[in-house]
Amino acid sequence: MSKKIDISLTVNGERYVHAADTRTTFADFLRNDLRLTGTHIGCEQGVCGACTVLVDGEAVRSCLMLAPQADGASVVTIEGLCEPDGELGVLQRAFRKHHALQCGFCTPGILTTAHALLTQEPDADEDRIRDVLSGNICRCTGYITIVQAILEAREGYRERSRSTAMK
């Protein structure tokens, strides 16, 4: 019954045209078809948030999207969060500084979520950050250092949004 459908999409600035199986989730498509294994699968039922990626600027659970639904989308995954020169971005550096990760498994989903949040709301306060993060489960850190890292990264996103506004 399932079949392959060609979809075209942009992931981390790169254009892909690829056959997607109609019964495959977008998470599995990214990982197995595009070999972008930075996005992780923790539950396959849309609860843990490890599979979060950005689709057209919004954070979504890629395990709850069908691969064909990503046709025409502009996607950012963890692999696309570095600076253009390959250096770690402000959020990633803040995570390292604050020890906001331990095993690293939930980290891609948390980084993409935080990136989406700070891009849209660089002034998000601690309550808002915790509220948004409540959709991502971490078993290692207890969340405190993650929140600290995101709070610190805000300044970098404010600068970015100021300089974008000025353009």
């Binding site: 109609t22 039922q45 919004e58 979504v60 659970r61 709850l64 069908l66 639904q69 979520t113």
Partner: protein
């Protein structure tokens, strides 16, 4: 937990979508945001032959604030609603209830139509549709029809939607500016399904007494229902602490929830009473000596 074997189609128009539904005779499932459907497929609770992706059908995601009430296109997402500047004022109860729904990522994709069609007994949106008796606009092979919310929501995961039909819009009745309302929900964690919730609204006559009381409750039954006995208790009364306490007792006594792994029945009964009291207190600006749930 991989999806069962299924095909996929993305029709360009509503009519095309209906045609596919009809052609597959009950073996097709509509998918929009997929936030409720995809987990069911992952657990293989459903095995449709084909998924009909209606998420990009044009014109179905509009939010209109009109003098006749708020109209939500079936494909409007929770995020769209959150971002809509006027909605909080046009229908504050709706805005408040929706703010409890799920999490950031899910809110970006989940739709009002999807939530209503899925009809989980613990979901906030179907509860609002029932309590406010919103009009549900449906299109099928026979054309368009409108069903009252309270008649559309039939039970757990059960609506009045026929196999060839698609929800296109939900129309909430006009909301008077002076209307009093309260919404209280109790969940284990932020964004979890409600263990119980109370949506309360009423108007006041010239003597400051309750008219047109609505008490909608999640947690009592296999779908959100209005507690008539509590509404009758409120009608014609002034809302004060004593009335709120009486409503709590009445709510606890008349509710008949069942047991589940998250809450035994007697606890839920008590919780329903508490939430009714708190929602009433919030509606009237009464300070109970409690904190937010």
């Amino acid at each position: 937990m991989k999806l069962p074997d299924l095909d996929y189609i993305r029709p360009q128009t509503l009519t095309e979508a209906i045609d596919v539904l009809v052609a597959y005779d009950g073996e097709a499932k509509l998918i929009a945001g997929g936030q409720s459907l995809m987990p069911m497929l992952a657990f293989r609770l459903l095995s449709p032959k084909i998924l009909i992706d209606i998420s990009r059908l044009p014109g179905l995601d509009q939010i209109e604030v009109t003098p006749g009430g708020v109209r939500l296109g079936a494909l409007a997402t929770w995020r769209d609603i959150e971002r809509h500047a006027e909605l909080k004022i046009a229908h504050p109860l709706l805005a408040a209830a929706i703010s409890h729904i799920a999490h950031y990522q899910i809110r970006n994709r989940g739709t009002v139509g999807g939530s209503l069609a899925h009809c989980d007994p613990a979901s906030e949106f179907p509860a609002l549709v029932t309590t406010c008796n919103a009009d549900v606009v449906i299109v099928g092979l026979e054309g368009e029809r409108i069903v009252k919310g309270a008649e559309f929501v039939l039970g757990a995961m059960t609506t009045g939607l026929a196999p060839d039909e698609i929800i296109t819009q939900i129309r909430f009745p006009a909301w008077p500016k002076a209307r009093r309302w309260g919404f209280e929900e109790f969940a284990r964690r932020r964004g979890d399904f409600a263990m119980a919730a109370a949506a309360v609204f009423y108007d006041l006559d010239s003597a400051h007494r309750v008219v047109n009381p609505h008490i909608g409750v999640i947690g009592e039954a296999d779908r959100a229902i209005r507690l008539k006995q509590v509404e009758d208790l409120l009608a014609g009364q002034e809302v004060d602490r004593q009335l709120a306490a009486k409503a709590r007792t009445m709510g606890e006594q008349t509710a008949q929830p069942s047991d589940d792994i998250h809450a035994p029945a007697n606890y839920r009964k008590a919780l329903i009473g508490v939430l009714i009291e708190r929602a009433l207190a919030a509606s009237a600006g009464i300070q109970l000596s409690t904190v937010a749930t």
